[in-house]
């Protein structure tokens, strides 16, 4: 896999079928439905529990807005990911181009996905810091790899956002 910035886009090329499939799973992985711990993490309370009035207002007015915000981000990412559904050979490497204006949506969707997966598998701090665990022998190992792969993409997007801010016309 190669990742670079080309004009106003981030281009991920030489995407093998395995990594392409992990990317396709970003929107689904970001969905906390059926995972109460993930739901609690994405929609954590705004106070330490003492301010019940604030929490009640938050549930009523802010939480629906957050849900809309998160859904919009994953929908943007899902639309970009349609590039991976071409008619090329099944095992051909793919290219994905992310427009700079979608960078924030990608950061959000990748973060949602990482938080949901981490909550689902209850990864420890030690596991999350273990970036080179191999081989992938279980669903848990694969999910940890997924969290780290999404984190790598986030790091790249953040770096590019920083560069864009410094020299937007490069």
């Amino acid at each position: 896999m190669e990742i670079c910035r080309r004009n106003d886009e981030i281009e991920i090329s030489e995407l093998d079928p395995f990594l392409a499939e992990l990317l396709r799973q970003v929107p689904a992985s970001a969905n906390p439905d059926g995972v109460p711990t993930a739901e609690q993490r994405l929609f954590s309370p705004p106070t330490n529990g003492k301010e019940t009035e604030i929490c009640a207002e938050w549930k009523l007015y802010v939480e629906p807005e957050l849900r809309r915000l998160f859904r919009t981000a994953t929908e943007t990412v899902a639309a970009d990911l349609e590039q991976l559904n071409g008619n090329e050979k099944l095992f051909a490497n793919r290219i994905l181009r992310i427009p700079s204006k979608h960078a924030d949506a990608w950061l959000s969707a990748l973060n949602q996905a990482r938080l949901v997966i981490a909550a689902k598998y209850n990864f420890t701090d030690g596991e999350l810091g273990e970036h080179f665990r191999s081989p992938i022998g279980s669903r848990r190992d694969l999910s940890l790899f997924q969290v780290n792969f999404y984190g790598f993409l986030q790091e790249f997007i953040l770096r590019e956002l920083d560069d864009w801010a410094k020299s937007p016309r490069d």
Partner: protein, 113 residues
């Protein structure tokens, strides 16, 4: 005697379908002056999943802090488990917490003292 101030907290648009032109219904909420004057603080808590570079970027965006200050707060969260990012009036603190949750950080609003 408790003094009260009427503050518009949220505007609720009822029956706001695509073809309706109903006027919005404004819900008003009364809060005590004491509540509003007490200083509140915005606290961000440690989270092993969020990337350090991401947290730094969020602090820069939400609070307008320069990178060095944002990094100091990020490291405080990382090492001490929490950092107070801002203190002041409740309304603004609520807005900051809402923005931080929009970026998926673990943030809370706490009364000072």
């Amino acid at each position: 005697m408790e003094k009260s101030l009427a503050i518009t907290t949220f505007a609720v648009f009822k029956n706001a379908g695509p073809s309706t032109v109903d006027k919005p219904t404004i819900e008003k909420k009364t809060r005590s002056e004491e509540d509003l004057d007490l200083p509140w603080q915005v606290v961000v808590h440690n989270d092993p999943v969020n990337l350090m570079s991401y947290v730094t970027m969020v602090f820069q965006r939400v609070f307008g802090y320069p990178r060095e200050k944002a990094e100091r707060h990020m490291l405080e969260v990382h090492h001490n488990g929490r950092s107070i990012l801002w203190s002041g009036m409740r309304e603004r603190a609520e807005l900051y917490v809402q923005q931080l949750h929009g970026y998926l950080l673990l943030a809370t609003l706490e009364k000072v003292g």
